[in-house]
Symmetry: C2
Subunit: 147 residues, 2 copies
Amino acid sequence: METQHQHNKDLEKVKDLIEDIRIAMMTTVDEAGHLVSRPMAVMQMDANGTLWFFTKKSSPKVDQVENHEQQVNLSFADVSDASYVSISGTAQELDDRAKIDELWSPAAKPWFPDGKDDPQLTILKVDTHMAEYWDSTSSRMVRFLEM
Amino acid sequence: METQHQHNKDLEKVKDLIEDIRIAMMTTVDEAGHLVSRPMAVMQMDANGTLWFFTKKSSPKVDQVENHEQQVNLSFADVSDASYVSISGTAQELDDRAKIDELWSPAAKPWFPDGKDDPQLTILKVDTHMAEYWDSTSSRMVRFLEM
Ligand SMILES: Cc1cc2nc3c(=O)[nH]c(=O)nc-3n(C[C@H](O)[C@H](O)[C@H](O)COP(=O)(O)O)c2cc1C
């Protein structure tokens, strides 16, 4: 996972919290209205706080986000470290080959053994609208970002 | 977290996977339609696969589940162990003092320092409808339970 310097200090805090965990559970709403989640490796958090993922064009989650006003939740949890982050955002598929080149790393190989030229490979970009993290001092989820 | 012997072998598999993680990220749909999540300690998985949590009557998540057809997702993640579980279910508040007595354990003290007689303490019970886990051999989420 590559992270860039954040212009916004609250986004810098998100970055510090998630970069050690790296893998989000991404929750979407499926065809039947059920909430489903799956692990997703963050490829990049850019300077605007946008989170970039790779996925397959045929993946059900691509349709699920389109059919539900693009709403997703990304949770990052490390129980042994009492570290918990919830990001509410909107997801969008983006078939941008130049950005795929930029994001590509061998870390993506396990999911895309055919490499970055796999025609099924596409981008899922998540814009953060709200972020909360567990603050063990005050024993509550602190909402520290709302855009 | 207390777990009971599962009659169903697929539920036994859920049990094995979640009992080491213990803390779920519970995702609900908020008033604005956004997906939000927070850590929740599983108090019990009973013999029917129902997951039992404590919460506060005044907690926003109680209203959120009532307003969205009770839909929740519980994700259990342990990145270091590549262990990921997604449970789709329906949640229901249940103010049952006898069940509260049965579930009470000192592990709940951090969230309920006033103990089990705290009038704000209530139960959130989640019935599992679908469960998936990450199978690293086949590199995909395997849906192993659908009820
Ligand atoms: C490890 C851990 C376990 C938690 N377990 C519970 C729990 O069992 N019940 C609960 O109501 N809150 C629990 N919390 C606090 C919740 O994450 C949350 O802050 C609180 O329930 C308020 O949620 P809401 O405002 O979204 O309704 C736990 C927090 C942590 C860090």
